[in-house]
Structure formats: structure tokens, C-alpha cells
Point group: C2
Chain length 394, copies 2
């Protein structure tokens, strides 16, 4: 097995140190493997299963709710949920600022208070449907949810700290710590300064009207509406303004769209358009295939895009041979999914292959075919749902 250096990132990766675990046969590479794609026909391995058992998608029937109840919203935790103490917790604002800040939770809560529904999706949603399959968290199509986040806008806080004229990036550091592809790190992600200063960016301390649950970032997390989940740093402990583009692992190595390991790739940013189908009828336990009766049904679901409002949802019940437009309802907020519906009269028993495709106001249309890339990021290939309509019981 290839031996990788054990790279420790300091908060802004200004000092990288390489070391082994201490004895020759025990290097980090033994347990922190390089990324790879699965072989043809290779089933999900133990490592992927461990991730799937911890992290979970939204149960598809929860598409019935405008706001996803806690515990049904998708969850991805890179390392462990850290033990946090709200009393001793402080949020540091530092780096290229005129005045460093250190805020308690009460100080944060006494600032301007904003609540907004935001649809959040993991950048890796759809990864396990790719062929070949990148080996990582094996999401199918359910890594999504919409919560009402309450917090205080970030921009006024940065203005109070006084961002220096040469600032380019804002780095957000969480309290979660681990190793990823050979790199030991606190979870850190940077946003370009102009994105960090957008009015809708929040430091959130409540989810659906309650203090953040531990797994969603208690006591405070970043919310950047429209961006994929990796941006929404949980267990936030520091905000660091930088005069240099951030080259930490989660920006420079992970979350890149690329076709091969040689390319630098382009960064993953905003959520690509997607429509999700609320599965009609009733399921089979093992296969999750659906069955339903003949007659009139309402096919419904949600659609979202991080760049612009969804303007169109197209439905097919014959595997993409013919299409119809669904009716779109108003979204509960500018950054939240919109409900769609389509009256479906099922006249014949048989198998139906359902597809739904969203298009947003920029003209970006969800593809029916896979969006393959090496890390399996942003694969918004249309969901494929099989339903059997059955004849009336004799």
C-alpha cells in the first residue's frame, strides 16, 4: 500500500508539516486512502457503507413538507460531531481586519435577527449513480432538505471588524477535526470576499425555531443560501479574512469539478437545478419500487436551483419518450425549493418510469444523463423512479 505523507494544516495552511505515525509500518496512508473510482460491477464497499450508515439522506416522502422536520433533513459530517459548550464558545473574527472580534453566543443572538427558509443539498448528491462510481459518501438522490435558519447577517459583522482593502477570501473554520485523503485538518472552507458580503449570508444559531441540533452545527454555523452544503461550515469557531486566495484542502483539493487527477479542476459553488419526485403509491421494503392503483393521481415534488428561481419542471412517465410541464407553485422563500404538481391519470396496469427535470431562470436545465466527474460533484442527472400500476383487485 502506498505511503502518504501525514500533512498537518495550520489554520491557513501557512505551515505544512509532514510526518509518519511514528513507526515504519504505520503511516497515515494505511488508513487514509487516496480517492479512486470503483471497478466495473464493484458493489458498495464497507467504507462506503459506514459513511451511508452515519450520514443520511432525506426520506423522499418528506418532500411533502415545505420545511423539512429535524432528523429528516439530509446530514453529512466529514469527521465527528464535536462536543461543544455554548458557555465557553467564542466566535473569532480575525485576519486582515482593522479590529479583531471575539463574540459570545449571547452577543451573536443580540444582533439583528433574520429567519429564512433555505434549501441545502450536498455537492455529492447523485454520486453513487455515476458510472464509474467515485468511491466516497455514496449518495443516491436524497441528500437535500429545506430548513428555516435563524441567525444574524455576516456582512455587518465583517464591516464592524473593518475588512482591509487587500482582502480576497474569507475563511470559515469549524471545530470538527480529522484526516481526509492523507491531510489532517480542522474543517475549513473559504468564500470569495464578495460572496461572503452578500446580504443573505447568515451566522445561524437556530434551525426550525430551535437551537441548532448538535449534528447541524451547534451552537453556530454558516449559511450561504444557494451554495452546496460544503460551504455551510458547522461548529463555526473562526472567521479569518485573508489577503491571499485560500489554498486549504476543502477548497484546493476537494470539491473540484474535474475529469482526471491531473487537472486542477474548477471549484464547486452553487447548487445546480434539480427536481425531486415525491414517490407516489406505496413502496416495497427491499427494492423501494412503488405500486399504485389505476385512476387519477397527483404527481408532485419539489424543484430548486442555487443560481436563480426554477422556471420550469418537465415530467415524463415513459422513461423520457414524452414530456409534459408541471404546475409550479410559489417557493416559500427566494432560496427555498418550489412545489410542483402534475395531474396523472393512470389508465393501464404496467410499469411506468418517471423522470422529472428542472430548469432555472438562467436557462440551466437539469440533464437526463449523468454529469460525470472524478469526485462525483454536482451530478444532477434526473431521478429515475419506477412505479407499477396494478389492475383493480378482483
Amino acid at each position: 500500500m502506498k505511503t502518504l505523507p501525514f500533512v498537518v494544516l495550520s489554520p491557513l495552511r501557512t505551515e505544512n508539516r509532514a510526518f509518519t505515525l511514528g513507526v515504519a509500518e504505520m503511516t497515515l496512508g494505511e488508513f487514509s486512502l487516496r480517492s479512486r473510482v470503483a471497478d466495473s460491477g464493484e458493489g458498495i464497499g464497507l467504507d462506503e457503507l459506514q459513511l451511508a450508515a452515519r450520514n443520511h439522506g432525506m426520506l423522499a416522502e418528506a418532500l411533502r413538507y415545505d420545511i423539512t422536520p429535524v432528523g429528516l433533513h439530509y446530514l453529512l459530517v466529514h469527521y465527528d460531531v464535536p462536543a461543544m459548550d455554548a458557555g465557553s464558545w467564542r466566535l473569532q473574527v480575525d485576519g486582515q481586519v482593522g479590529r479583531r472580534l471575539s463574540l459570545t453566543l449571547d452577543q451573536l443572538r443580540s444582533r439583528e435577527r433574520v429567519t429564512m427558509p433555505v434549501t441545502m443539498e450536498c455537492a455529492g448528491n447523485g454520486r453513487a449513480r455515476l458510472l464509474p462510481r467515485p468511491v466516497s459518501q455514496p449518495w443516491l438522490v436524497d441528500a437535500v432538505g429545506t430548513a428555516e435558519w435563524t441567525g444574524t447577517p455576516l456582512a455587518p459583522l465583517l464591516q464592524e471588524a473593518g475588512v482591509s482593502a487587500d482582502a480576497v477570501d474569507v475563511v470559515f473554520t469549524g471545530a470538527d477535526h480529522g484526516v481526509e485523503r492523507g491531510v489532517e485538518q480542522d474543517y475549513q472552507r473559504a468564500l470569495p470576499l464578495h460572496d461572503a458580503l452578500r446580504a443573505e449570508v447568515l451566522l445561524a444559531y437556530e434551525m426550525n425555531g430551535m437551537p441548532l441540533p448538535p449534528q447541524h452545527g451547534f451552537p453556530c454555523r454558516l449559511i450561504v443560501p444557494g451554495w452546496y452544503g460544503m460551504t455551510q461550515v458547522k461548529w463555526l469557531r473562526a472567521i479569518t479574512v485573508s489577503a491571499h486566495p485560500f489554498d486549504g484542502y476543502q477548497n484546493a483539493v476537494a470539491y473540484r469539478i474535474k475529469k482526471s487527477a491531473d487537472e486542477p479542476g474548477v471549484p464547486v459553488t452553487r447548487i445546480r437545478p434539480r427536481a425531486a419526485i415525491q414517490p407516489p403509491g406505496d413502496p416495497d421494503f427491499q427494492s423501494r419500487t412503488r405500486f399504485l392503483s389505476l385512476g387519477d393521481h397527483e404527481l408532485t415534488g419539489r424543484a430548486w436551483s442555487g443560481s436563480a428561481p426554477v422556471t420550469r419542471v418537465s415530467i415524463s412517465v415513459d422513461a423520457g419518450t414524452t414530456w409534459a410541464d408541471a404546475r409550479l407553485e410559489a417557493a416559500p422563500g427566494p432560496w427555498a425549493w418550489a412545489r410542483w404538481s402534475w395531474p396523472w391519470r393512470v389508465e393501464s396496469p404496467g410499469r411506468y418510469d418517471l423522470l422529472a427535470v428542472a430548469e432555472d431562470a438562467t436557462g440551466d436545465r437539469q440533464p437526463v444523463d449523468q454529469y460525470w466527474n472524478l469526485q462525483g460533484m454536482g451530478n444532477n442527472m434526473s431521478q429515475h423512479l419506477t412505479v407499477y400500476a396494478r389492475a383493480p383487485q378482483p
Copy 2:
């Protein structure tokens, strides 16, 4: 593909009807397959992955909490979470009773109110570690959690209804509906009458002090402390006293300990003893292997058994070669897990293979080797956790 009859169970399976989906090539057997075990070396399949993405284990670091926060508690949903309306919901009590009852949620809430912490575990926990692996929900070791359930005792309600002298079983029917191994059904489980009348059995309407979340059975579920999760019927809508042993799918076919398909097997009932290790150190993202520093650590976790208090937890850090006894703390209640701890001085860099084994007051001791059975039920084989201790950084 083998064609199975489409069997519809009426509430007490008094009338089974078989039919096909309506056309020759569309039988239920096409999507509702018989159970099987995986081939040697067969990875997790798409059907198992779909289940793992929906249902989720408890994040192991949540062993730090006496009471598991909502969303971290394990979740298994056989079919779909049904849409429930608390206003129109009624709980029926019928069958072999002197007086049928129909209760509103307010009526239930106005009865005697009891709160108790209960450790719940899925009977399939540990299934995916079996060799060969039964193909079903692929749990590793994390299908557990402890919640504070609030509700009203069942026994006084049954006494008010007047259980007839010939009653033997009490059947609990949920509002969830689907197909399983060729059988269409509402989820139903029966308890022997003497178990249903135990003082600790609750009709619960709150979890951790809040109304039940949709996925945990809103507005009301059964709680039978000490028994595996399949007993804890969610979205409860009817309680039916029966003069005959219940032969519905979830009692007669599923949740049986057996070695081959020919045997009737014995029913799965109470939770077998298990100790879980709160993973020390920090994880690698993909492999979930841990690394930690040299020096003094506290190895800790929880242990539980559904039959009797846990009396002993034994720890090994050398893959079972030597063992030591952990210190056991008082459990937060008679039906909840107990915290254990063991001071661990890590003196040398290297790999450590951690095991923990629980024993209860009946003398039942958790095995280190697998407890193989065809459905993968009650496999309480010891957890195996690999940790690398590393030398101090130069």
C-alpha cells in the same frame, strides 16, 4: 424471475387474497423479492444502499449523550413515513374486549403521564457484519439510541376496555403501508398479552420532551422497553386483542431466529446484551479509522441489555488477547444504557484493535464471534474498532 403471489393481509390476516398486478409480465415478484444471503465477496447492492441512505444509525460520537438528541437516534422505516393528521387521528381499541374504545390524542394526553429513558435497538443491528450477509437493511453496529419517551401506560387502557378471558395476543397496527417479500400489509406486530400488560409498556406521544417527530411515529407509538425496535409500532392506529396467536407477516415470517428457510424459527423478542465504544481520537473521513496521541485516555461508551441490568463490561485493546473490566456507572433508568469507562494509557505508537463485551445479570454475555442466522437478527457480536496511536510530532 420467480413469480410470487401478491398477498394482501387484512388487519388480522383473516382473509388473504392473492392476485397479480394485472398483466402477465407484471407480478409482484418482479419488485418484491424473496430474502437471500449475499454471495461471497458480494458488495452492498443498490437495494441495500437505498435502505442505508434512508434509514440511519446513531453517529457513534453521540454515545457521549445520556439521551440521544433527535436526528441522532437510529431510524428504521419499513415503508414510508405516513402523512398523519393529529386532529382526525383516533386510536381504536377493539377485538376481544368488553368495550371498544376510540381515543383522540387529547384524550390520550389527559391520561396518566409517564416519562422514561429507553434504549432502543434494531433487531437487525450487526447484520451487515455477518458472513454470509443476509441481504436486507445493512446495519453495521450503530442502530441504537436512547430517548426519553413520554406517554400513558397501556395496561390501564386495556383494563378499561375489558380484556376477555380467552385473549392471548394484542396486535398493534400502524398507519404505514407497503409490500414486503411479496406480502402487502399495514405494519402490524403482536405482543403476548402478559407482555402487553407489563407496567412499563407505554403509548408514547412525546420524544425528548417534544411531540413525536414524523419519522418516529407522530402522533403516537408503542414503547415496549427492553424489546427490539420492531415491537415499537409507530403511527399506531389500532390495538386489537385476539383470542388466537397472531400469524401476521412481522411475527410469523419476519423477525425469526433461524438457520435455514425450512425452519419456523423462534421469535425475536428482547434486546441481547451489547457494549458500544465511543470512538476515541479523531477519524479518517473515508475509512472511519481513528488516530490518537500517546498518553492517558479515557475509553468510554455505553452498554445495555433488554433482559436485565448490565453487570460487567470487558475491554480489550489487543484484539481479544487480554481483557480488563471497565467501570460501570448507574444507568439513567431501568430500561436505558449504562455508561462505562476504562482508563487507557497508550504508551507505544502502533495499531490497537479495540473490543468491548457486555454481560447482563442473567449471565448472558455478548459474543466476540458472529451470531449467524438467516435473517441477521440479534447479531450482537462485539464491535471491532481500529485505532492508530501516533508518536509525538517532531
